[in-house]
């Protein structure tokens, strides 16, 4: 609930980081989030860390979600983290999904990505995780 007593819709930025063009998964997740009633801003392909940070700030999103399929998730997230922190976005829910080898999950968590959804994750699980974890920020 916000000041006016109305439930605010959860607002998600869903970004395709780097040069990867595989957007089938990102678009599926975007649709699942929309069906769940979230407001989704899908960036399209080839977002730089600076663009992800800027849109997150301007759109005042609750969730910053990345979809990465081509293996450059760690170098990208290392650049993104300080930018999001500099913009005061560390209290937002940071998620990443896609082709993310298990051996990289700890490093992604250390970079601030609380929700990690590798290939094989269920759409409902992603939606439920967001509802569960974003509540305190939206309320």
């Amino acid at each position: 609930m916000n000041d006016t007593g109305q439930q605010r819709r959860i607002k998600v930025l869903l970004a395709k980081p780097g040069l990867d063009g595989h957007d089938q998964g990102a678009k599926i997740v975007a649709r699942a989030m929309m069906d769940a009633g979230f407001e989704v801003i899908y960036t399209g392909l080839r977002q730089t860390p600076e663009q992800v940070g800027r849109i997150s700030l301007e759109e005042d999103v609750d969730v910053i979600a990345l979809s990465s399929m081509a293996g450059s998730h760690l170098p990208f997230c290392r650049k993104l983290k300080p930018l999001l922190e500099a913009d005061g976005l560390q209290d937002k829910l940071w998620l990443i999904g896609g082709n993310l080898p298990a051996q990289d999950h700890d490093a992604l968590r250390e970079l601030g990505f609380r929700g990690i959804f590798p290939t094989g994750s269920k759409l409902d699980a992603i939606v439920a995780y967001i509802r569960e974890n974003v509540r305190e920020h939206v309320a």
Binding site: G18, Y42, A70, P101
Partner: protein
């Protein structure tokens, strides 16, 4: 029908939306249009195959997708695959190369050599193909946005090594319209992108007439969510768009159509796939003969690579993908493909290791050596089911093409993001159906393992040092080349683009001067601008 009313069997439809009956008889074949579109192998309309003797004369080409790191690494993998009996190469380029960025471009950081080999200049092509006999091993290049540059580099490299470019065979993917639908390695806006494809077709028709400058890919449209019938129908719409572009320049259809080729996907129902290919072969022949008035049989041939697709493989129980790959290879052989490739079992995780790539290669070799798959042409021909479904699939594809044309044509629908939204909605529904168990997937929604990590996949190592080596190599070339000559050839590229002329001759000269992929791309961007992706749900 009466028998259905009495039956308690539930109605089954395939992914393309066609009903599959429990039994087919001669009456079904007749009802679906009979055998008027069947013909003999090697004869119009080529339903049974584009050649009379097919694999009896020569087995399909085996062409695993390969490439990573720098050109030296990739050259080693090529030689490994050839030593293991592979008969063609399919080159994977890294993302910076595919979208026209040099390895020292800030946007390329973290992506160099990751999903394919990194290429900056002609020097890299020389290293990548060193020691490989380009007459014996045909090379296919999976590159689209920057395809014109890659073709120029390939031809220049071959010429430098003494090959007669007039006789040189090979293929570039160079299908930009499908990149806008899925895969996403576009650079320029839609209109100049199609113009560039036209430039490569026109250039090759004159200078490299045995080279296939385009391989139209239903494959990635299928991966993005299209049904098998849509996969082929949209591919034909795209091929027609390229043909129209070239014909508008005054080329006769028989001057270039024989070098158009196709890339299709295999996963899902075996019979639906086989019938898709048989139907597609005759439909393409009909389109070329009746609509385009082609006269040479070669212009009517649906020459293709039919590849076991990643979309069918699963992250869960990855070793089952070896079994799926074997079925996909069987389908490919039963479908009369010219070239075959398989996604390897670990590709839901990583780029294939030598080990997994070899398993894919051996899978195809077992079909050739042990299963009798090369002995008889179109072995499923004459089956009531296969002939009926082939007719029905052809009707379905024609319906989709007519619908696409009625809505303004494929170029308009892709430019506006309408095809993208349509296949993406289908992909979403399929994902929901897999998660609910409605669409069966073994290991995913059936027969799951308690411990999914029983057979961990070995990850292909990414060498962080490759990027530095690649950038050093680029700097070395820049220091050694004649920079004034490079500048002149680069200026000629944008001049040709501005004049609306064919840019290929200028790109070939720039490439020979060791201008880089990024430098040439920037010249074209000056004139063409960059694509803005339509976001539509």
């Amino acid at each position: 029908m009466n028998d259905r009313a009495q039956s308690t069997l539930k109605i089954i439809t395939n992914e393309s939306g066609l009903e599959v009956k429990p039994l087919y008889t001669a009456a079904d074949v007749e009802e679906s249009g009979g055998t008027t579109m069947l013909g003999e192998p090697g004869e119009y309309p080529f339903t049974r195959g584009i050649h009379r003797e097919m694999y009896r004369k020569q087995p399909w080409t085996m062409r695993q997708y390969a490439g990573f790191g720098n050109p030296h690494d990739t050259n080693q993998r090529f030689k490994y695959l050839i030593a293991n009996g592979q008969t063609g190469l399919n080159v994977a380029f890294d993302l910076p190369t595919q979208i026209g960025l040099d390895s020292d471009d800030p946007l390329a950081a973290g992506e160099i050599g990751r999903v394919g080999m990194s290429i900056d200049t002609l020097r890299d092509f020389e290293v990548a193909f060193d020691g490989i006999d380009l007459d014996k091993i045909t090379v296919s290049m999976t590159i689209n946005g920057a395809a014109a540059i890659a073709i120029a580099m390939y031809l220049a490299m071959a010429e430098k090594r003494g090959y007669d470019v007039k006789k040189l065979r090979g293929t570039a993917q160079n299908d930009i319209l499908k990149e806008f639908i899925g895969r996403g390695t576009w650079i320029f806006p839609v209109e100049p992108s199609i113009k560039l494809v036209g430039d490569t077709i026109e250039y090759c028709a004159e200078h490299a007439p045995k080279y296939s400058p385009v391989s139209v890919c239903g494959y990635h449209i299928r991966e993005s969510g299209a049904t098998p019938a849509q996969e082929m129908a949209y591919a034909f719409c795209i091929a027609k768009a390229y043909a129209d572009e070239v014909i508008a320049r005054g080329l006769a259809v028989d001057e270039f159509a024989g070098r158009l080729s196709y890339n299709f996907n295999i996963f899902g129902n075996l019979f639906e796939q086989v019938c898709k290919f048989r139907a597609g072969r005759s439909l393409w022949a009909k389109i070329m003969k009746e609509e385009y008035k082609a006269e040479k049989p070669g212009s009517m041939w649906l020459r293709m690579i039919a590849a076991g697709g990643g979309g069918g493989l699963t992250f869960e129980q990855p070793e089952l993908n070896i079994v799926r790959g074997a079925y996909y290879a069987l389908i490919s052989a039963l479908s009369g493909t010219q070239t075959m490739a398989l996604c390897s079992y670990d590709e839901a995780y990583t780029i294939p290791t030598e080990y997994s790539a070899r398993i894919s290669l051996r899978t195809m070799q077992i079909l050739i050596e042990e299963m009798g798959m090369t002995e008889t042409v179109d072995p499923l021909g004459g089956s009531y089911y296969v002939e009926t479904m082939t007719n029905r699939m052809r009707d379905k594809m024609e319906e989709i093409i007519a619908e696409t044309d009625a809505q303004g044509g494929i170029v308009k629908l892709v430019s506006e993001g309408i095809i993208q939204a349509k296949v993406s909605a289908q992909a979403y529904q399929m994902q929901r159906d897999i998660e609910s168990g409605k669409f069966p997937k073994v290991g995913v929604n059936r027969y799951r393992n308690e411990h999914e990590d029983e057979h961990p996949v070995e990850f292909h190592p990414y060498n962080e040092d490759d990027a530095r080596v690649q950038v050093d190599g680029l700097n070395k070339v820049r220091a050694e080349r004649d920079s004034e000559h490079v500048a002149r050839t680069l200026a000629a590229v944008s001049e040709a683009a501005r004049a609306g002329a064919n840019v290929m001759p200028a790109i070939v000269e720039a490439v020979k001067a060791y201008a880089s992929v990024g430098e040439i791309t920037k010249e074209l961007v000056k004139v063409y601008g960059r694509y803005q992706e339509p976001i539509r749900f």
